[in-house]
Amino acid sequence: MTKLPVWADVVLVPLISLLLAIFFSGVVIYLISPDSPATLENESWKAVLDAGRIVVEGSMGSPYAWGYTLYYATSFIFTGLAVTVAFHAAMFNIGGEGQAQLGGLGVALACLFIPWPHWSLALLGAGVGAALFGAAWAAIPAWMQAKRGSHIVITTIMFNYIGAALIIYLLVYVLRPVGQMDPATANFPPATHLPTLHEIPGLNLIFTKKVPANVSLFVALVACYLVWVLLWRTQLGYEIRAFGKSPEAAKYAGISGTRIIMVSMLISGGLSGLMSINNVMGESGRLLQNSSEGAGFIGIAVALMGRNHPLGVLLAAILFGFLYQGGAELGLWTSIPIELRTVVQGLVILFTGALDQMVRMMLGLVFRPARKPEAA
């Protein structure tokens, strides 16, 4: 196969994959459009275009729309980074959901039981709680992988279910305030409320309406930078990457596989857990069941599309933020069900993750003739 130029590999391949995904999403919307496609073809295509317009406008047409898109993106950055760190150690951490929900528990405990004087201290405390609980939930599968060889994919998936069940149990029997009907904790005290973009001086000129995106976004951006430093500027990152590329060679270099598996999974779990400062602390202000709402899984797609690089993760997280928010708008304004956004996400993952080799091959055909004359 022809080796593509770097720019084509990094920019063109994801772009074309994305366009393919969008095209097929359009086809799906066309097919499920309530107007019978056979008779009213023009109407159906109009529905597709309308849907496209709603998605774009609803996710980036206004600062208000951006406020939602960035809120989702913040969560996806954390879970995407979590998958990225583990991936560099050749650990496929599918347990983002469970780790994020346990992280939510850490946030809830920190916010409910410690009287914080100011939101910034509360953010710090809750962040530590979130990371610790998320890391702890990743530690068990990591230990079983490192010591017993239990495959991390299987164990982390199982721990998602165990984690969800554990949270429901705690919400129903332990943390639910007396007299409350729904399985959730009490509302967090006002001192733990994180400023949203609307409430930050300066940014409130742009975000004039209340939006869910909050200061966690900046924590996420810092996390992107720190993950980059970790992976490419520290000895630990060097060893994680070495182990991920070749466990055998890592052993030759005196790198302990057990240590790398444990440390990378703890960092990964901690990052997954950290997403809870965005949704649990920043948005809902209390811990609900299924707080992660699938962000743990979307993190896999985000890492995949972002090529396991923090910058790529950032961009991919924003893209998935668009899709998430745009899909919600679609459900709101059209008769197209909100579940369609799952279909669209599925198509994006399919094309950017699973089928990008196909795009690469097709591009290889495009790039080959240009090189042939000089070689022959």
Binding site: T2, K3, V229, R233, T234, Q235, Y238, E239, R241, A242, K245, S246, E248, A249, K251, Y252, A253, G254, I255, S256, R371, E374, A375, A376
Partner: protein, 522 residues
């Protein structure tokens, strides 16, 4: 088939194989460039060349794995298209690969007919194959038990099965890729007898090898490849190893290692009753005693898979074992917490592993990252307690690449972009410049071009002359004989004996390698 029709007419007529202007490019790399050769019927033709010279590509084109960009293939004078291996078999070409393509859990007979069955029922094919195998065994010394499972056969016998497979498919042109790489000298001799027998029956044989000695011994004509081109085709009788080496490399090459006598000093390494088990609990090293002194190279000879790999891995700290190992008089931890590669490096053990691409470096890492591999904890590579100093690593890498003549000297290239020889130089630069007390070096020149071999050998001898101990493991007897100050031969996890390189020869070592100890001839 063609092979059995007549002899007189065809000998004078077209050559068995003729290649005309074969070219093949991979991306911007020209693997084969306008290659034309003629291989006369009933001869043994050698093809030699350094790694990456394009030998394998050429043979892959001939066997239908690749399609040439340009050029023509003529088999017995007929232009022939070979789009896949089935077409190659139909054209009478048989290939014996370096890595055998046998089903280990099948018997010899089953392997031979696999893919060449006569019908849906196996019985007639098996009967036919059994008869044919009997004939071939009688005619060519190709005897193998037809009912033995392939996994129970020795490597030499497995190779015979590959040859039988080709002959069963009525091949009259046989291509062998590095056929003696895994054989003992005795097995190699046997193989050569088989090949000569086949030649006498009118078969045409092409051997690809990098061993000059074999070329001189068995071939009638030899073609030399360099950088994708055929630089010369000569009659073997009219050439010499030195001339061939020069043709391969493009300059004069010192085939013998220039080294003075050893000055052994105090004992650096002392091994007593070392035992190693593999993952399945099978004992691979069965009680070894040896010692190496400062300023001396101990060569470990043996056919691959007789415990040498395990020995070097235990000493390097990447495998656990039992027994006692003293380094500079202090015991090494063989199975506890300090039985890791990092602890070994701290104690002054450097390790150039046998499998450089899977152990010695990370192919996806850049050269500068690889040049720090294993020493990533060195304070010189760190800016502070948290951050690594990439600039310092880069500078260090540039110096090492220059001193060890790594080509191209670009530290930002990935490990996999370097040729085998230059990868080995990267590893040697990294390990030797640590100035270790003990150097463990496995297969230092496997897959390395002749030009680089000379350089690598020189560096190892220099380390010896600086008063260091060197443990050299190699399956290349030539290398063991020319490099070592003492030779220990391993067979089945034991040391069969120790010899002085000046007072032994390949035959004696070969017998020891095959496990024969009552050598009266020595």
């Amino acid at each position: 088939m063609q092979g059995e029709t007549t002899t007189g007419r065809q000998e004078t007529a077209a050559p068995a194989i003729e290649l005309r202007g074969i070219s093949k490019a991979f991306g911007s790399v020209q693997a084969n460039k306008d290659i034309s050769i003629k291989v006369a019927r009933g001869t043994i033709h050698g093809i030699i060349g350094e790694n990456g010279a394009g030998k394998s590509t050429l043979m892959s084109i001939l066997y239908g794995f690749y399609r040439a960009d340009a050029g023509e293939i003529l088999i017995h004078g007929t232009p022939t298209q070979i789009p896949d291996s089935q077409a190659a078999i139909r054209a009478g070409i048989g290939m014996v690969f370096q890595h055998f393509k046998l089903v280990n859990t099948f018997t010899v007979l089953e392997n031979v007919i696999l893919g060449a069955e006569d019908g849906p029922l196996l019985r007639p094919s098996l009967a036919k194959a059994r008869k044919l195998l009997g004939d071939l065994a009688r005619d060519y010394e190709l005897d193998v038990d037809p009912d033995a499972l392939v996994e129970d056969l020795s490597v030499g016998h497995q190779q015979r099965v590959e040859i039988l497979k080709a002959l069963y498919r009525q091949a009259d042109i046989l291509i062998l890729d590095e056929p003696t790489g895994v054989l003992t000298p005795d097995e190699a001799d046997h193989l050569f007898r088989i090949l000569r027998g086949l030649k006498e029956q009118g078969k045409t044989i092409i051997i690809i090898t990098h061993k000059l000695r074999e070329i001189m011994e068995i071939t009638d004509t030899v073609s030399v490849m360099r950088r994708g081109q055929m630089t010369a085709t000569v009659k073997t009788a009219g050439t010499s190893p030195e001339e061939l080496a020069e043709l391969m490399v493009g300059r004069k090459v010192l085939l013998d290692v220039a080294k003075g006598p050893a000055n052994p000093g105090r004992t650096i390494l002392e091994v007593r009753d070392l035992r190693v088990r593999d993952e399945n609990g099978v004992e691979r090293v069965k009680g070894i005693d040896l010692h190496i002194r400062a300023g001396e190279i101990l060569g470990i000879a043996g056919v691959a898979g007789n415990g040498q790999s395990e020995l070097i891995k235990v000493l390097g700290g990447i495998k656990k074992g039992t027994g006692s190992v003293l380094l500079n008089g202090a015991p090494l931890d063989l199975s506890g917490r300090a039985a890791d590669a990092e602890s070994r490096r701290e104690k002054g053990v450097a390790h150039v592993p046998e499998d450089r691409q899977h152990l010695g470096m990370i192919l996806d890492f850049t050269a500068w990252e690889n040049l720090a591999f294993g020493y990533q904890g060195d304070p010189a590579y760190h800016r502070n307690g948290f951050l690594m100093d990439n600039d310092a690593m880069m500078k260090d890498a540039l110096g090492k690449m220059e001193r060890f003549d790594v080509r191209p000297p670009i530290p930002t290239l990935q490990g996999k972009s370097f040729s085998g020889g230059n990868q080995q130089k990267i590893i040697l630069a990294r390990e030797l410049e640590r100035n270790p007390d003990l150097l463990l070096v496995g297969q230092p020149t496997r897959g390395v071009d002749i030009g680089a071999i000379e350089f690598i050998h020189k560096r190892i001898v220099e380390l010896r002359d600086a008063g260091k101990a060197v443990l050299l493991v190699s399956v290349e007897l030539d290398e063991i004989l020319s490099m070592s100050d003492r030779i220990a031969v391993m067979f089945d996890g034991r040391i069969m004996g120790e010899r002085d390189p000046d007072q032994t020869n390949e035959r004696e070592l070969g017998l020891l390698m095959a496990g024969v100890t009552n050598e009266t001839a020595a």
